[in-house]
Symmetry: C2
Subunit: 336 residues, 2 copies
């Protein structure tokens, strides 16, 4: 059976099972001109969208279709997490070149459905079309959050502590390994490769933090720590001071950087695609939130710096030397 033999509508029927896992509030999912559903009238709506383009965001030869499907939805889940929201319904646009087999596409949707089910998310619709060369996956994801709990980028205040919900730089190192290394190194640094291919969106962490009135601003680390904290600074009209020695790094990242003579903190600052959350927290509630967070997640919130007055973007070294923090993360158009 091929895509050509079953056609667009046969394909839609083939991927439909497993798309609707939470049917309450859904009047019509896949199969009409638009999906029809009732919103949650007590909460504010969220909507995010991300495009994944072959040869820009992924190479078919370095990821399985299943992992690609998972990651395509994971990056959108991470955006909802960064707003403190509960993800609800996904819509999948896909542009398929001739050389994608039906089996590969089913595997891709299986990956999406597996992470959708983990987070209680429906796949309610989308669009299916052709493409000349590159596979393109465009996902749009809705969510909801009580109005007073929304976590914005623009809400950081001087004096806030800056926390991250996970270690940084692993994904970037994993990408370097996928691009440049042989099988044995991939095996040695399996954890870094997985961080790149299978990021875990911090949805539950985001909801926990959103319920705390003293958590002020949040963003997910997609462009890179230095670039993403700069988004918070710019939009909040504040400055940032990070502590070089407090940036949480995994042991495999340190080992990998040792081998290559890289500074793992630089990888963490500029890497991107970590999909952990960066949040700013009022100092008066910080200790209490740290303690309760650790009880729930059995993981620390890592304090990496603090919000300072506008105009200062700095990173403090071990010898108290202050360097300028440059937002040098990922930009799709600027030459690097």
């Amino acid at each position: 059976m091929t895509l050509k033999s079953i056609g667009e509508f046969g394909f839609i029927e083939a991927i439909r099972p497993g798309c609707l896992i939470r049917p309450d509030n859904v009047l019509k999912g896949i199969g009409d001109d638009a999906a029809v559903f009732t919103g949650n009238s007590n909460e504010t709506m969220l909507l995010t969208t991300d495009l994944l383009v072959e040869r820009i965001h992924f190479l078919r030869k370095t990821t399985s279709a299943f992992n690609l499907g998972r990651k395509a939805l994971a990056v959108n889940l991470s955006d909802i997490a960064a707003m403190g929201g509960t993800p609800l319904d996904a819509f999948v646009g896909i542009a398929i070149p001739d050389d994608c087999s039906l089996d590969m596409l089913k595997e891709l949707y299986d990956g999406m459905k597996s992470i959708a089910a983990e987070f209680d998310v429906n796949i309610l619709g989308g669009d299916t079309t052709g493409s000349k060369i590159d596979l393109v996956i465009s996902i749009c994801l809705t969510g909801c959050v009580p109005n007073k709990h929304v976590l914005y980028r623009h809400a950081a205040r001087p004096g806030d502590r800056i926390y991250t919900t996970g270690r940084l730089g692993d994904s970037r190192a994993g990408l370097m390994i996928l691009q440049n290394s042989g099988e044995s190194e991939k095996k040695t640094f399996d954890m870094l490769v997985s961080a790149h291919l299978l990021p875990r969106p911090h949805v539950r962490e985001g909801r926990f933090l959103a319920m705390e009135a003293e958590v002020h601003a949040a963003i997910d680390v997609s462009d890179g720590l230095s670039a993403d904290i700069a988004h918070i600074a710019l939009q909040s009209g504040v400055g940032v001071r990070l502590y070089r020695e407090k940036i949480p790094l995994s042991e495999p990242l340190k080992d990998f950087c040792d081998r290559l003579g890289l500074d793992p903190v630089d990888v963490a600052l500029t890497g991107g695609e970590d999909y952990v959350l960066l949040v700013t927290v009022s100092p008066k509630a910080a200790q209490d939130i740290e303690t309760r967070y650790r009880k729930v997640f059995a993981m620390p919130l890592f304090q990496i710096g603090e919000i300072v007055e506008a105009g200062r973007m700095e990173i403090l070294g071990p010898d108290a030397r202050i360097e300028t923090l440059r937002p040098s993360g990922w930009d799709h158009f600027k030459s690097r």
Copy 2:
């Protein structure tokens, strides 16, 4: 100024003006991890998404960037129209190859903003990324409609009359002219070319029809009349009889088909991208709805056939000869 010099975030700032035209209910538009807005709690939500891929859906050399932007949003507006809905908020994902200039992209967004403003639609967010070769535009559009007024594909009943809100086939002829003809023919058949490049979504027509309890099923004609009426038949569990002589055709289409020795009804049946609505209406209310529709829109509803019992898909010729109606419209994967 180039895209490379201003970067991704400079680009977002450049296209931001004019995106938010109806700020009520919007807590955050462009600029955070997700858009934040309050739904209309009295109405059902709609969401549709469409991907436009270069060399599949359009050629940069046969359309202006402005018209491309308009059409990208128009096709989504047409989907909301087909559900009887009011469009609300658009989210624009765009994957941009290196050879797109900043001016071209601004023009594309100007096209989107112009049709968004006509239909009171916000552009609330999206995603901006690179692409190796092909420009990709992925739009996601929300809408709302009172629950009891939603127009589904699955609601047609035997005995219903089938109507279209406009003439069919012009867009397909326009595409043929763009692909094969010289400047003088493009000028002669300007109206057909415009039907292809600048389709007008029938949003107001859809809302009018949705408010009528005796309008049962609806779809917009995107794949082609024969394919789209087959979607209604399949999903409603009914059959279809069309009248060949009643299918509304424009004079330019007839002239164009005369020149090429084509049957304009065949072009209308299989063409696609007409973006008019197909609706089925209870016979007891049909005359009354026709009359009131004409008063509001100064255009007729064109009756082109009727819904019959399941299993029959036929088209009646002028000499009462019955042919089988084949759903031979657009399918992105089947060989044609």
